[in-house]
């Protein structure tokens, strides 16, 4: 298989997993969820926030989850603070409402519902990959973060010390269409894992995907 065929197989894997995320979210929470964009990007790690349209000064909420095994890397779910509150209130179905007086940016319950969402998203993604490539991948416990996007990305890439270099990024924009919620899902396999994906793709991968 030549590079273009392999790239298109990888592209389809990315789309399938983004589609799976949208499906899981709508089944679990009874929401109308749409995969708005799915793309694969090569971009310098310090350009990722700008690339996703987040300004340097904006504080966002997110969860990040590392994965390891045959493939290693991290999955980030990034939301604006408003979207985070909105989705948390849907997931919590009215539980954990606090008076607005001394309310932190996001309450502990809200934070844990965001990390739970991150878990669901990460497993949708990893399952698709594992099933398509017949490999084992383990997902690590999620971490919650409310910070500048660049800080979240740096923290999630810390182990791979890739900062400054380019990253392969599976970028999906998931929209909850019956609420005003947008969720950016970034999957960043490290470069070594990316090559393993290329090596692993054979003709039959195309049928599986």
């Amino acid at each position: 298989m030549n590079e273009i065929e392999k790239l298109s197989a990888i592209k389809r894997m990315g789309e399938d997993s983004a589609q799976k995320i949208a499906e899981s979210m709508s089944t679990m929470f009874g929401l109308e969820v749409e995969m708005a964009i799915s793309s694969i990007n090569m971009v310098a790690t310090d350009n990722i926030p700008k690339f996703t349209g987040v300004t340097n000064e904006a504080i966002v909420a997110g969860s990040y989850i590392g994965f390891s095994g045959f493939l290693s890397g991290s999955v980030l779910c990034i939301l604006s603070i408003e979207s985070a509150r909105e989705i948390a209130s849907i997931l919590l179905a009215g539980m954990g409402e606090e008076s607005s007086e001394e309310r932190p940016v996001l309450t502990e319950m809200e934070q844990s519902s965001i990390t739970e969402l991150g878990n669901i998203i990460t497993s949708s993604f990893i399952d698709t990959w594992a099933n398509t490539l017949y490999v084992e991948v383990t997902q690590h416990p999620p971490a919650f973060s409310c910070d500048y996007m660049s800080a979240i990305i740096n923290a999630s890439l810390m182990d791979s010390s890739k900062v400054g270099e380019f990253a392969f990024m599976f970028d999906s924009l998931i929209s909850v269409t019956d609420h005003d919620v947008d969720l950016e899902v970034l999957v960043l396999p490290d470069l070594e894992s990316m090559q393993k994906i290329f090596d692993r793709i054979v003709i039959s991968t195309l049928d599986a995907a």
């Binding site: 392999k6 592209k11 990315g14 470069l191 090559q195």
Partner: protein, 212 residues
């Protein structure tokens, strides 16, 4: 060489081309132009406007060029209407008698804006020519003011590709100290992209290193 190394080389070529575009624009403008982002993307053609952050119903100004040879494909330059007026104003330095901003562009404004796309296409073509010894010819540029999706469709010679995925070089250039920004998109055709993969050798990497 493995796929990741080759893609890395292709990414570098895009970075160098985008930096060169910023350099040429700075010379033309006499202002500082910054390459804000340079990326390589795999994306469904109909998702491109959203990825760039252009709403489906937004009218933008663009110019595009088709190139062919060793590499075939199209180069586009997309601006908001406001940015397009400002850019044309800077380039024409008041040569235009009347300034309108009702969404129409005079012949001179249009040709100033299409001149950009020439620079963009040449920068990319040069880098491919220098590193891969490839010969590429570029066609005359065209001006368009339309929905972004329509401009992209028009720029792709093979319109049937609209539902397919594209390999896209995407750079965002911004003029320092102003709110002018330009989105530069280069969409090589898949067949010619495969030729690039086939022709990248360790020497190509050395060649690129010397140009960085």
């Amino acid at each position: 060489m493995n796929e990741v190394e080759k893609l890395g080389a292709i990414k570098h070529m895009g970075d160098i081309a985008a930096t060169n575009i910023a350099g040429s624009m700075a010379t033309m403008f006499g202002v500082e132009v910054e390459m804000a982002i340079s990326s390589v993307n795999l994306i469904a053609v109909d998702s491109i406007p959203r990825l760039i952050g252009v709403a489906d119903d937004e009218i933008v100004v663009g110019s595009f060029i088709y190139f062919e040879g060793f590499m075939s494909g199209s180069a586009l330059c997309i601006l908001t209407t406001q940015s397009a007026y400002e850019v044309a104003g800077i380039l024409l330095e008041g040569m235009e008698e009347e300034s309108v901003s009702d969404g129409t562009f005079t012949g001179m404004q249009q040709s100033a804006l299409t001149e950009f796309t020439n620079i963009i296409a040449s920068s990319f073509i040069d880098i491919w020519a220098n590193t891969l010894n490839a010969e590429v010819t570029q066609h005359p540029p065209a001006f368009a003011r339309d929905f972004m999706a329509s401009i992209i469709d028009e720029s792709l010679i093979d319109a049937s590709k609209a539902g397919d995925f594209a390999f896209m070089f995407d750079s965002l250039l911004s003029v320092t100290g102003s709110d002018i920004s330009l989105e530069v998109l280069v969409l090589p055709e898949m067949d010619s992209l495969q030729m690039v993969f086939d022709n990248i050798t360790p020497r190509t990497i050395d060649n690129l290193q010397s140009q960085l």
